[in-house]
């Protein structure tokens, strides 16, 4: 991975094609922020990157314990990458607990930077160490650097105007400075950011600046490190880029979708991890005419969104699994009312409260079937953080064109993970036509005209959307079964059967609207297809590349539309001898494709609250190909 290159300074800089760095510390140590800043300066340098914030459910779990360890993993590279990396090459451990919780992930020879000041007897004990790992041989497989981060930080901040206890809190900037030196990151973006972020607290800004510089200088002068490293910019397609997390991309996608449809955006939401950041982001964007409503509960979140949709707005609700449970009844109503509605589910580990801050893909069958009665709806799944933008627009488009609630699935990994995003040309995005009803659509027997809310479009089977305000289109809708056409309450058995089938046919017909599934099959003669959905995209692509690097053939396709499936999915699946379906659940998509297409899909499952590693996908493919060769 590295080869020596001499530089002008005292330290040679070694070239690396990629590196995985994991910042780990106590929840209160600011590791998420540290990782974020490192990512930002790497993005500006032009690396490709992928991040994985990994933090506990408790806001402040007992300090110094394993439960309180918060980590941020970032993978930077000079080439196109798709995952935050299987194993960190560098671990920054701010205390013994951070070391203990993460050391198992490191490959032999990895670099470990420890804040040696935190390795006192009490902290070691809290972390469950009987003896000091820095003093025995347990870390001999790694390159361990003991750095007195706390004491140097306190020393340089002495006359910065902050109290010693507050100065100690700047030690994460020391770590950031040191790692920035180690990987030859530019310092200016971080210094500028500190200045801006702490503009109203100049003393804190000063302390953080000093700590950051001290960390950087420590690397340069301490003669501890034989070399430092350089990860050159990646080659990207020409364009303008920004670094984006899934939740932010999703929020922006909703804003874009509302603009494309020319509708005001209304978000009804109740705070829930890991979805709340969408509510936060949208509530900041009122200049787009966005109305955000923090409802009294999950039910009111979706209810208010449905009410807004009845009034002609783009109604959206955002949640995670427990919230989706609560919204089920209202989603059923929306299916009956046939009104556009976007339900965003940022999946997390379940059941019940489960693992609130960890990722999982176990809500697929819930999205598919989690309502009473025959209640089908379209399901769209985002596959990378940046793809959340596009997925939000697609979900909105289907909701509006087909007058139906749509569930958009993302997950904790996409929500918080970041990657570089080539900004789309927003002028080129296809518009969404809400096609509001404007006139009566029915002639009564006596020749007079009337508005019938359940007369369907022949092509899409969608009913007219007629928000209040237009004379002559007054109508009543509700959860009771309606007569085909007039929409009046109807208990007639044959009418019910017709309506159930019509609602299903409408959703099935969406398959005609969506693009055929694209298959990545380089040579066209692979025998194994890896079929993924949602956030497994990165790990599957990385795993497939590894298999191909061995000279073996394997195909890959990633589903974005889970209901209905793309029109060619059956044909694609039958082209391959074996289909492997990796998912972060116990086999939900594999169940669906088995039932639908009668194929013997092989399931690769993982429910550990963390994404697949490329190696796991690789080894599963190799097994199907007849074992490693």
């Amino acid at each position: 991975m590295a080869n020596g290159v001499a530089t002008e300074g005292g330290h040679p800089a070694e070239q690396m094609d990629r590196v995985v760095i994991r910042f780990a510390g106590d929840s209160g140590d600011g590791m998420q922020l540290t990782g974020d800043r490192f990512t930002e300066s790497s993005a500006l340098l032009g690396n490709d990157l992928s991040t994985f914030p990994d933090y506990p459910a408790e806001i402040r779990a007992p300090a110094g314990t394993l439960a309180g360890v918060s980590a941020f993993q970032v993978h930077i590279s000079d080439h196109d990458i798709l995952t935050p990396g299987d194993a960190p090459n560098v671990l920054v451990a701010m205390n013994p607990a951070a070391l203990r919780a993460n050391i198992g992930m490191l490959p032999k020879g990895a670099i470990v930077l420890v804040n040696v000041d935190a390795f006192d007897e009490r902290s070691l004990k809290k972390a469950g160490y009987d003896t000091d790992p820095l003093a025995d041989e347990s870390l001999s497989a790694y390159k361990v650097y003991e750095v007195p981060m706390t004491s140097i930080t306190q020393e340089v901040c002495k006359d910065a105007g902050v109290k010693p206890r507050d100065a100690e809190r700047s030690k994460n900037f020391f770590a950031l400075g040191l790692v920035s030196w180690l990987f030859t990151r530019p310092v200016d973006p971080t210094l500028e950011w500190i200045g801006k972020r702490f503009a109203d607290r100049p003393q804190v800004a000063e302390a953080n600046t000093r700590a950051f510089r001290a960390g950087f200088d420590f690397g340069e002068t301490a003669e501890l490190f034989e070399s430092h490293y350089e990860v050159r910019p990646a080659t990207f397609e020409v364009g303008e880029y920004t670094q984006i997390t899934g939740n932010k991309a999703l929020a922006w996608g909703l804003i874009a979708a509302a603009q494309l449809a020319g509708l005001p955006l209304f978000l009804g939401s109740y705070p829930i991890t890991p979805a709340s950041d969408i509510l936060h982001e949208l509530s900041r964007r009122k200049e787009f005419g966005v109305r955000t409503f923090q409802a009294e509960d999950e039910i009111a979140g979706v209810g208010s969104a449905l009410g807004a949709a009845f009034g002609g707005a783009l109604g959206v609700t955002t949640t995670s699994g427990p919230g989706l449970d609560l919204k089920s009844e209202t989603i059923g109503l929306a299916i009956n009312l046939e009104l556009p509605l976007v339900i965003v589910d940022i999946q997390r580990g379940g059941p019940s409260t489960g693992l609130p801050t960890k990722t999982e893909q176990a809500d697929l069958l819930h999205a598919m079937y989690g309502r009473h009665g025959e209640a089908p709806l379209p399901i769209v799944a985002a596959k990378t953080p940046a793809h959340c933008f596009e997925a939000a627009i697609e979900a909105t488009r289907l909701a509006i064109e087909y007058r139906t609630p749509v569930i958009l699935l993302s997950d904790g990994y996409l929500a918080n993970g970041a990657e570089p995003w080539r900004l789309p040309d927003v002028d080129a995005l296809e518009r969404i036509d809400p096609k509001f009803a404007t006139a009566p659509n029915h002639v009564n027997d006596d020749g007079s005209t009337a508005f019938w809310p359940y007369v369907r479009d022949e092509e899409t089977l969608a009913r007219p959307w007629a928000p209040p305000g237009i004379p002559g289109l007054e109508h009543r809708i509700g959860g009771l079964e309606k007569a085909d056409g007039s929409g009046n309450v109807a208990y007639d058995p044959m009418n019910h059967e017709r309506m159930v089938r019509l609602r299903a046919a409408k959703i099935d017909g969406i398959a005609r609207r969506i693009a055929p599934l694209e298959v990545d099959d380089e040579t066209g003669d692979a025998e194994v297809l890896v079929l993924g959905w949602g956030s497994t995209f990165g790990a599957i692509v990385a795993g497939v590349r590894r298999v191909r690097a061995r000279g073996l053939r394997v195909a890959h396709a990633q589903l974005v539309h889970l209901n209905p499936f793309p029109p060619n999915l059956g044909e694609v699946l039958h082209r391959y001898r074996t289909v492997l379906v990796p998912e972060m659940n116990l086999g939900q998509l594999s169940r669906l494709v088995r039932a639908e297409f009668l194929i013997d899909a092989q399931s690769l499952t993982k429910v550990q609250g963390v994404p697949f590693r490329a190696a796991e996908v690789e080894s599963a493919i190799l097994t199907l190909l007849g074992g490693p060769r």
Binding site: K286, A295, P468, G478
Partner: protein, 340 residues
């Protein structure tokens, strides 16, 4: 925008072609008639009027109106109405609910709509029973009520809907009953004029499962002695000869007295606009249920900024400060870099 005069309408214009399917003799009929006959007087348009409901007998109401309408799901209408009213300030949104719908399954949504002061006219038909599910006790049923689900009598202390609304910080709280069309219409008119959440409890007779629940106070021959009309700025008194009244004792307690015993000057003067809801709350507790002299009319009507208006103001002020949202600029609001 051209402003055209609101066309004159009659009750017929507000009546849909759907057959009304409440039990014969149900109090809901007279409430429906009162509303349909009042609307032509309010100077409102049919196309700008929406009736929303949840589930229950009362919730069928929207089907009988020729306006826009939605019959939604149990208890959730206040949430749905909040989304509609805050995004469509041009609409007149009425919410028709019952004691089970509003106070049991939907209690949470009701109190939050009230505290937020969402511009809604909420008509809660209180019949102290579950009608649609055929006769179980409700959250307003009196203690020890024997019903299908409580053969040995109910244990629950009932809600006092007016007290509950006042406790939730409602800005308009009133009570009326299905036996008096003029009083209903006057109360509904006041609710409609109120800019914010208006809560009206309507005593409604369910002649099938809880017949006569309010007869002791609303019956034609007892009404004068059992209903205490609240009139803003007037001493609170009642009785065929206005011989009875309400006074406030030095410990704050309200009491019904003979005017002759205390003198007219001693009577409590009703002030619906009082900022502090304490007296209105005390009035709501004057009777222990519809068996003792019970106040009707407007308990409280105060001004507080309306929720949707405030939301609009936040949007307007953001647009004033930052200009209309620009999507291209939004996508570039973080750090960006260019690859050529």
């Amino acid at each position: 925008m051209t402003i055209t005069a609101v066309p004159a309408t009659t009750r017929k214009d507000w009546t849909s072609d759907q057959e009304v399917r409440w039990c014969p003799g149900c109090g809901d009929y007279s409430i429906l008639a009162a509303v349909q006959m009042l609307l032509p007087d309010l100077g409102v348009r049919r196309e700008s009027t929406v009736f929303l409901s949840g589930i229950g007998c009362a919730a069928r109401f929207p089907y009988y109106m020729s306006t826009y309408g939605m019959h939604s799901i149990h208890g959730r209408a206040p949430a749905i109405a909040t989304g509609l009213a805050t995004t469509r300030p041009d609409l007149d949104v009425w919410l028709v609910t019952g004691d089970g719908d509003a106070l049991s399954i939907g209690g949470n949504h009701l109190i939050h709509a009230l505290r937020r002061n969402v511009r809604l006219n909420i008509l809660m038909f209180n019949n102290q029973i579950y009608g649609l599910t055929k006769g179980q006790y409700s959250p307003t049923s009196e203690i020890a009520k024997v019903t299908k689900s409580t053969p040995f009598g109910s244990l629950d202390n009932p809600f006092n809907p007016v007290s509950l609304a006042l406790g939730a910080g409602a800005t308009f709280v009133a009570r009326t009953h299905d036996m008096d069309r003029a009083h209903m219409q006057e109360t509904f008119r006041r609710a409609h004029e109120h800019r914010g959440a208006a809560f009206v409890e309507v005593y409604q007779n369910c002649n099938v499962f809880n017949d006569g629940a309010f007869e002791k106070i609303t019956g034609r021959d007892v009404r004068a002695d059992m209903l205490i009309p609240l009139v803003h700025g007037q001493p609170i008194r009642f009785g065929a000869e206005e011989e009875k009244g309400v006074v406030q004792r030095s410990d704050g307690r309200l009491e019904v007295v003979d005017v002759a015993d205390v003198g007219e000057e001693a009577l409590l003067v009703h002030d619906e606009a009082r900022a502090d809801p304490g007296l209105a709350f005390a009035l709501s507790h004057l009777s222990r249920g519809p068996i003792e002299p019970t106040p009707i009319g407007v308990f409280r009507a105060v001004d507080r900024p309306e929720y949707g208006d405030q939301m609009d103001q936040q949007v307007a002020s953001a647009q004033e400060r930052r200009g209309q949202g620009d999507l291209k600029a939004l996508l570039r609001s973080g750090s960006t870099w260019t690859v050529d």
